[in-house]
């Protein structure tokens, strides 16, 4: 357990150290800058709510990724699955009649289905076409991105306008209900908690979770042992895509209230980094995703207060992941060297 916590804390310290150096080079007081990011993310109720709002889609997509990663699938297509979910949710928001109690569940369900469809397509490419899911996912991501752009600038354009800046906002009945004066929705928050707990339970306590792990660690022997490998892969893609699609639906209904081409905004790729950093543990996904969301929301303070470029926030995130992966590699090498040394001793 201490090793596991160290695998999280050491890279964090290294990343913060590098960031502090960068800040000093940029001529900024590092402690004040980091403090401002924290204040920008958690300084008052509004900011906490905004940080949680950013946490919801990121955490949701990351939860779905844990499922696919567990099955040994590098589902990089998650960005496209978020977009596909957002498109499906937008289609419902535009056309479905009725009050919030009807239309919101419908559009979120559409988001799940849209994302699951996109995940399933990556699954077909992988299973039938033998296309590695990394390439399939990236390709499908481009398709989803282009389709969203086409819809925004074409059939779903604002009257008299052709701009990629987004559709007309959808009617207010399709907006997620918020908590008090904030922009945070209890619907999204509840769904995220359910998703995280659900994925954790499914992976740890169910037969499906066991199959995922079997297929993930050794597909050939899993098949020999009678695990339906292809079906398991499809289900993993459906889960991963479905949760990513739900993230897309939540972005439409809870944040943008319209479809914009950049609806996913790189959250899919960020989610992959979150899951890598969490070493594929759902229990770590929640706090790490929150941490990333906090940096993302809080870093605009660097420019607002210190006149620094707030892209430094993204630098912190990148450095953090690099540090984590390097640390993990170094750890593994140390263990290996020890083992080699031990076996050398034994043979002497």
């Amino acid at each position: 357990m201490t090793r596991r916590i160290a695998s999280f804390l050491v890279p964090l310290a290294v990343a913060l150290g590098i960031t502090a150096l960068l800040l000093i080079v940029a001529g900024a007081p590092p402690l004040e800058a980091l403090g401002l990011i924290g204040e920008g993310a958690f300084g008052d109720t509004t900011r906490i709510a905004d940080t949680l709002t950013a946490w919801i889609p990121l955490g949701m997509a990351a939860a779905g990724l844990v499922v696919t990663f567990r099955a040994g699938l590098w589902n990089i297509g998650v960005e496209g699955q978020i977009i596909a979910g957002a498109i499906a949710a937008s289609a419902v928001s535009r056309s479905a009649p009725g009050g919030p109690a009807i239309v919101i569940p419908l559009l979120l369900l559409a988001g799940v289905l849209g994302g699951a469809l996109w995940g399933w397509l990556a699954g077909i490419l992988r299973v039938k076409g033998r296309v590695n899911e990394i390439f399939g996912g990236i390709g499908l991501g481009f398709v989803a991105q282009s389709f969203a752009t086409y819809l925004v600038i074409g059939p779903w354009k604002r009257a008299g306008v052709a701009s990629t800046s987004g559709t007309e906002p959808f009617r207010e009945e399709t907006w997620l209900p918020t908590i008090g004066d904030t922009r945070l929705s209890w619907v999204g928050l509840t769904l995220l908690v359910i998703a995280l707990v659900g994925v954790g339970f499914m992976l740890g306590r169910t037969r499906f979770g066991l199959r995922l792990r079997a297929v993930g660690s050794n597909p050939a022997s899993a098949r020999l042992l009678g695990v339906p490998a292809n079906a398991t892969l499809y289900w993993a893609f459906l889960w991963g895509g479905g949760l990513a699609g739900l993230a897309g639906g939540l972005l439409v209904a809870g944040l943008q209230h319209k479809l914009v081409p950049a609806i996913a905004g790189g959250r899919g790729f960020l989610a992959v980094l979150v899951v890598l950093l969490a070493r594929n543990r759902v229990a770590f996904v929640a706090p790490i995703a929150l941490f990333f969301a906090a940096i993302s929301v809080g870093s605009s303070q660097l420019q607002l207060r210190l006149d620094l470029d707030s892209s430094l926030g993204a630098v912190i995130q990148g450095v953090l992941v690099l540090a984590a992966v390097l640390y993990a590699g170094w750890q593994a090498r140390r263990v290996l060297v020890k083992r080699l040394a031990a076996s050398a001793e034994a043979t002497v």
Partner: protein
């Protein structure tokens, strides 16, 4: 495959993807570098865009604090930099203090909405907020409604225009400021027509809306007039094509790449490019091709010193000078006399490049010939004294339907809400 082995190779790929995916990471390296005087791969900045000492202190309690929300980078040599410099001018003139956030758009900052930025700026003490893009409409309408006591300006918008089509009478704290850039674009079109050797002009347009149709049409009218009256050519033989990239600036994977659009225009025979987007790719690319020996020229947009990006290919730049009008609004907030007006401000015809008085100016570029400059001055004088009014019929829309009858002069509303490109122009009037 082990988790670890894959992770290492994936991270490399991912960091690239995150960067390409249009998150705040997009400009990481360049922007970190911009705190030093030069940005990687670009000309040194000629302006004071790098962070300086004037805005670092906050909450001193002296004077006016105002917020400036920019859609693109504050050093874009275009639309956003023109606003940023107006903010610096306000600081200087009013002893005010600016809080600025740039790159506020869904691609660069997915987790930041205009509404949130408004909240942030108000909580930091902003007593006046400028939302400086057409793209910020939904956000600033919501932000103004959330803080009815804080005066705000939505630049280029029409929400405060009582006769307009999108009037928001309930938002009594939200005004609009825009410049009569039609005049600047007419000069741009004129300079292009005076210079072209192939008789073919390319207009690199942003997205399609009332504003951009209005400005593309103005450029075309200016080009036609000068082609006919100063060069004695048949205006109907002048080719004028518009290609829209889809947004105010390049977003990889979402918009067309303006550099490619520029190349396509030149490859297709156009030798003068007029830019309608926020950034300077059209000029930069044209400058490269001119350097390689081609006879091509460009006219950038928005920012007084934009020609500096490629002076030898630059015929001139129509620019916005937001400073004076912003100072006036700032003063009205200090005096407690702010009113949510719709202001559509023209040039100071006595001296259109007077930085203290004129909203719209035109810097002539080094590539403009002396002869062309003389004709352009004559044209400008005609616009100034009213002897030339190009919004006069007969003018038809692109589909042949009448826009203005013979002798009819367009009203401000007809000019602002232009439904189509004009007859004779190539390019889309709306989405296909």
């Amino acid at each position: 495959m082990t988790f670890r082995k894959w992770s290492a190779s994936l991270v490399g790929l991912l960091l690239v993807l995150v960067a390409c995916g249009g998150t705040a990471g997009t400009t990481t390296t360049a922007e970190v570098a911009s705190t030093t005087p030069t940005t990687a791969g670009e000309e040194p900045l000629t302006t004071t865009a790098a962070p300086d000492t004037s805005t670092t202190a906050t909450g001193t309690g002296e004077g006016l604090t105002f917020g400036m929300i920019l859609v693109g980078p504050q050093d874009d040599h275009g639309w956003s930099q023109a606003h940023y410099e107006a903010g610096l001018y306000m600081e200087e003139q009013l002893g005010a203090e600016m809080i600025v956030l740039d790159k506020v758009n869904g691609a660069d900052r997915p987790d930041t909405t205009v509404e949130q930025v408004v909240d942030d700026m108000v909580s930091q003490g902003a007593q006046l907020i400028f939302a400086t893009s057409d793209d910020m409409r939904d956000g600033i309408l919501a932000g103004a409604a959330n803080h009815p006591d804080v005066p705000m300006i939505w630049s280029s918008g029409d929400s405060a225009w009582a006769e307009g089509e999108a009037y928001e009478p309930d938002l009594t704290n939200l005004g609009n400021i825009m410049g009569e850039m039609e005049f600047g674009k007419m000069m741009a079109g004129c300079a292009a027509a005076l210079t072209t050797q192939t008789g073919s002009i390319g207009f690199v347009g942003p997205l399609i809306n009332d504003e951009t149709r209005r400005l593309a049409n103005a450029a075309y009218l200016g080009a036609r007039y000068c082609y006919e009256n100063y060069r004695g050519e048949d205006p109907n033989a002048l080719q004028f094509a518009v290609n829209w990239i889809g947004f105010w600036f390049n977003i990889p994977g979402v918009t067309l790449d303006p550099t490619n659009v520029t190349n396509e225009f030149i490859d297709g025979g156009a030798d003068v490019l007029i830019s309608g987007i926020d950034t300077t790719e059209a000029l930069v690319r044209t400058g490269q091709r001119a350097e390689a020996g081609e006879s091509v020229w460009a006219i950038p947009y928005d920012f007084r010193d934009a020609c500096d990006q490629a002076p030898d290919a630059c015929l001139g730049v129509p620019f916005f000078n937001w400073g004076p009008s912003y100072v006036e609004v700032g003063q009205s907030v200090i005096d407690g006399t702010f009113t949510p007006d719709f202001q559509w401000l023209g040039p100071d015809w006595a001296d259109i490049n007077n930085s203290e008085t004129s909203m719209i100016g035109f810097t002539q570029g080094p590539a403009l010939s002396a002869e062309a400059a003389t004709s352009l001055d004559e044209f400008t004088a005609g616009l100034a004294d009213g002897s030339i009014n190009l919004w006069t019929g007969p003018l038809n829309y692109q589909d042949g339907s009448p826009f203005l009858a013979d002798g009819e002069e367009a009203t401000p509303k007809q000019i602002w809400y232009t439904g189509q490109l004009l007859e004779g122009m190539e390019g889309a009037s709306s989405a296909e």
